[in-house]
Assembly symmetry: C3
Homo-oligomer: 442 residues x 3
């Protein structure tokens, strides 16, 4: 039952970095094949071009082999093979001479970041274009430029990966990450590599209370595709979900709430983050920008939040060539992994208990209390006080997470106390949770 | 579809100012006749003396022709014809000589405001009296005074005006203002002239979603009379109401909550005021003092608030001869009108929408989105973000006002976005609001 | 209808102080007999050793006649007859020589408070021990010590006192205090003496709306015993309860909430305390430590709070020989009594009213209003405003306490206004409270 180490996650990101991903195409397939080496139980699905998915339809498949611009002097000045951000995603094929004036209508650069190549796409409007640093663009001279894009936009399919890890209960935890950006490290590769590590760890667990649904999809259209095929089951079963993105740097810890703002996913995320770093940044659903847009949309209403390091859009390297492997680190990935593990472990232990006796149970006769009542230090009393406070709220209504918040104790400590009580007297507490404890179809 | 201008409202107030109004009598009738010239659809009702109205009954009708005091030297020192505040409202007729001692028991003045004539009434206790400036009273010498009041207190009726403007829906907006004070400008004439302007504007609208019930009544007894005749229908239909008073100065913007504090009237008032002047003054229902005392009373429970400029009782000119035409202005009246219009327009547009698709709608194919995904400035993105946030809450539960508050946007901007979406694709949103959209008995 | 004075309560505490109480035994019986002299209606119950009470059982009865330590020099250095705190509660009999090493395992002292004798018990683990000041213990020399404890631990019973004072309603107020500590003044005797005074006062009332259940019990095991016999009836009838402890000093006023935090007991306690001393200390249920641990336990869920002066555990004299008669005072006891009386009187008057008319009642015709409407000072208007605000919330839903909080007025002032209105017009208000007004089985 091992996660990947921070170093292993970083190395996996490095291996994936050069691949030119988009919302469809072979870059996605190659990415999934590499992840599958760590998580063999992943199934890879293909959904054909043209399939209707709610208000959308699956677009043509895009693949690209080469692209460049040759300037009037015959020099190759922009080369897809050097950096796949140079090409506007979903560019149609082109091979002709254009004037600087016409070329400029197809060029994208960032005046405020003159050395960065921006990341640009045009999925649903036929177009072509190149991205380049502003400082390079500024030097372009009048004349004829040869633009060449060897791409294809044809019927094909959209590809995604899916792992279902059954637990004792049909209640599900949902992890979603995306695999549609070319060479971008924090937004995006940090997400898939952390999710791969978590999937590996979960799949090797000997005992799972909950079921896990983990998907590697292209952003937006991928989550819409996946929901259109699975949303009824997902609405029935998912109790908490996480959109895993931007988890590779080590600057901040950020939380983006669900549309509801108070789902189980929000509650566990805030509980864990408060304990790990009470200065974490909290973002409203109004500041969303990834697949929670679909998962939390009206009528879908899944309990999905994001726990990130520095949020997309909040760092200037975002969606530029500076979001590269130097922006993320093994240390950053490992910290994110710790938070996600605490959340998932917390959800695993989050049952609702009720004492089987009225009034306080007699702890002494179960060897859970001091034999003699004499003055003691606060430190000596603290663990006992936590146990008594826990028991005072085991009323069959509060789940463990609610109690943890009420009595200001980490849920993992409460889970340890529950384990200790159950060892001393298995009959003192019973679990009040019909669904989890009746459905055991593992 | 025109309101009166600020100047026109001010002129109307000036025309009404000299009339001696009270809770009954010819001053009320003359006032209503002048208002009717602007709003011909107003009906004028007469309710006879002695009619039981809940715990009260309609009092005798009071009319007054002349009143004065002649001092021992034979000088007319207090003269109703110079200022109708000189007479205590509902004074019974009197014509005799009294000593200074007896006279003093019938005189009212303000020690703290030596130049002001106070406004005093004695509706339900038979009495007579005169009001005068403290500085004048202080100079009265011993001797015989001739007091003369040519008034009548006889069976008659209580008079009020009422306009019902039908809309597509039976749901009603209620506007109430009072017409029972003599020559007082902010409290009271600002209310009737603004309400007249709003009634004119509403009656000339080509299309009204909501029905409007607008009344011009004497305060307290008038609202009790009106409720006793109409409260069952009012309770069934009124979704928001406003008691229009003290809207003529330009010093403050004030809001007085309903008894419930969170009705639709409270919500739209606070939404509009926050946007127009976030420093508006907010008064608790405990600080009430006008007809919301009746409209919000237990068992009546109408959703009625007041939006005022400087609240009654909060300015020292209140209920004195200094609350004259110099205290109000065209500018102040026009500002108040703007606020009321924003509230009424907001209520007109406040429907509950639901998107007809699951997940985010594809905005691009409806020409509601940029064709290409490239870096853009926050200013460029803001309108799109507002539209996306609006759609994210069009879940069939949140009305437009709730969404406006959630996403911190003016309801009028959201109404514009809804209109634009509906133009591009009329089938994307449907209205969830049984009552409004089924009952169309215009 | 008289309470004890502060002086009388203090004298009663002084009379009870020397008695060696524990959770069972003759000290409890003697204490109850002395209290019974003030409250003859108290019944004394005996519950036999071995009886099962929820998760617990009634322990053997403990009685002690003498106990001491004689040092190697033959000096009696620790003597139960000088201070009954010297003996560990529930010590088994012993009469032998022990080395200083063995003796030390049975000695209890407070290193941080070298002059204080601590209070120690060992109810459920057979043991024996002595408590002494640290400074005395530090001087003990090696050698043989004679330890002597003349106690008995035999089948017997647990003793408690109970008073039921019937009212017009079956709804009950519950007062609980404990009588199981030896010579300790604030924690504990302040509780029983105040409760005795309140019981006397309540029992002499000519008219009681509510029923009162008052118990004098040993802490923890006593409340468990009492609940095991009565909890069904208590759950049905108790609307508010108070655990009376630590009410004898005059340093602070403290409130400890119920587990729910918002019961009627919490509401009246906070209302009264805010008015009497808005700086009162407020403790969370997590800081509980007395019989609310049982009364508020899951499945019992009684609305029980504590109003204290300085809370147990929050003063350094707590559970030491310094919590003696000099720590409490007649003044402190009397202040606590005032607070409890205000709470009980508040609950007696806390009915739910509804006006029998729609709109505001006409106060003038009932002689509840000024005959003439002229400018008046805020002071002159205040009582009238309070009456109007009270009436504005007499809607059949808000009880008097809710209104008191809403309009920021003491419940006792509102009760006076209600009385005055009812005198002027008994038909204006009706009481909406099925249970209280239908069940009159006094």
């Amino acid at each position: 039952m091992m996660t990947l180490s921070g170093k292993e996650m970083y190395d996996l990101a490095s291996e994936l970095f050069p691949i030119c991903r988009s919302i469809t195409g072979n870059g996605v397939r190659e990415t999934l094949r590499l992840l599958q080496q760590h998580i063999p139980s992943m199934l890879i699905h293909e959904v054909p071009t043209g399939q209707k998915v709610f208000d959308w339809e699956v677009p043509n498949e895009w693949n690209i082999r080469d692209a460049y611009i040759i300037n009037p002097r015959g020099e190759k000045i922009v080369d897809f093979k050097k950096n796949n951000l140079h090409i506007v995603g979903y560019s149609e094929p082109v091979d002709r001479k254009v004037s600087l004036g016409e070329l400029n209508e197809h060029l994208y650069s960032l005046p405020g970041q003159p050395l960065a190549i921006p990341y640009v796409t045009s999925y649903y409007t036929k177009n072509w274009g190149f991205c380049l640093p502003e400082h390079q663009r500024a030097k372009l001279e009048p004349g004829d430029y040869h633009v060449f894009i060897d791409s294809s936009l044809t019927e094909g399919s959209l590809t995604y990966g899916e792992i279902i890890l059954k637990g004792h209960s049909t209640e599900e935890i949902f992890l979603s990450t995306y695999i549609c950006h070319p060479s971008l490290a924090n937004n995006e590769l940090s997400g898939p590599v952390l999710t791969t590590s978590l999937a590996k760890w979960l799949s090797e667990m000997t005992e799972r209370r909950l079921t896990y649904r983990i998907v590697f999809i292209p952003e937006t259209i991928g989550s819409i595709v996946y929901l259109s095929k699975n949303y009824k089951e997902m609405k029935k079963n998912i109790i908490a979900g996480f959109n895993v993105t931007c988890v590779g740097d080590d600057k901040n810890i950020s939380y983006l709430e669900s549309r509801d703002g108070n789902t189980l996913a929000d509650r566990i995320a805030k509980h864990v983050l408060r304990l790990i770093d009470s200065d974490f940044l909290s973002y409203s659903f109004l500041e969303r920008g990834s697949d929670e847009r679909q998962y939390c949309s009206p009528g879908i209403d899944l309990p999905v939040v994001s726990i990130m390091r520095t949020k997309y859009g909040e760092y200037e390297e975002y969606h530029t060539s500076y979001d590269d492997l130097s922006f993320i680190s093994a240390y950053g990935l490992e910290g994110s992994q710790l938070i996600y593990q605490k959340c998932l472990e917390g959800l695993e232990t989050n049952k609702t208990y009720k004492t089987n006796v009225l009034c306080e149970p007699q702890l002494g006769k179960r060897d859970l209390y001091f034999p003699i009542n004499c003055p003691r230090s606060a430190d000596e009393l603290a663990p006992l006080l936590m146990m008594k406070n826990l028991l005072a709220y085991c009323d069959g209504y509060n789940d463990l997470l609610t109690i943890a918040e009420k009595i200001d104790a980490p849920i993992w400590k409460l889970a340890d106390i529950i384990a200790n009580i159950s060892k001393k007297d298995p009959s003192l507490l019973r679990i009040i949770d019909d669904r989890i404890d009746k459905e055991c179809d593992l």
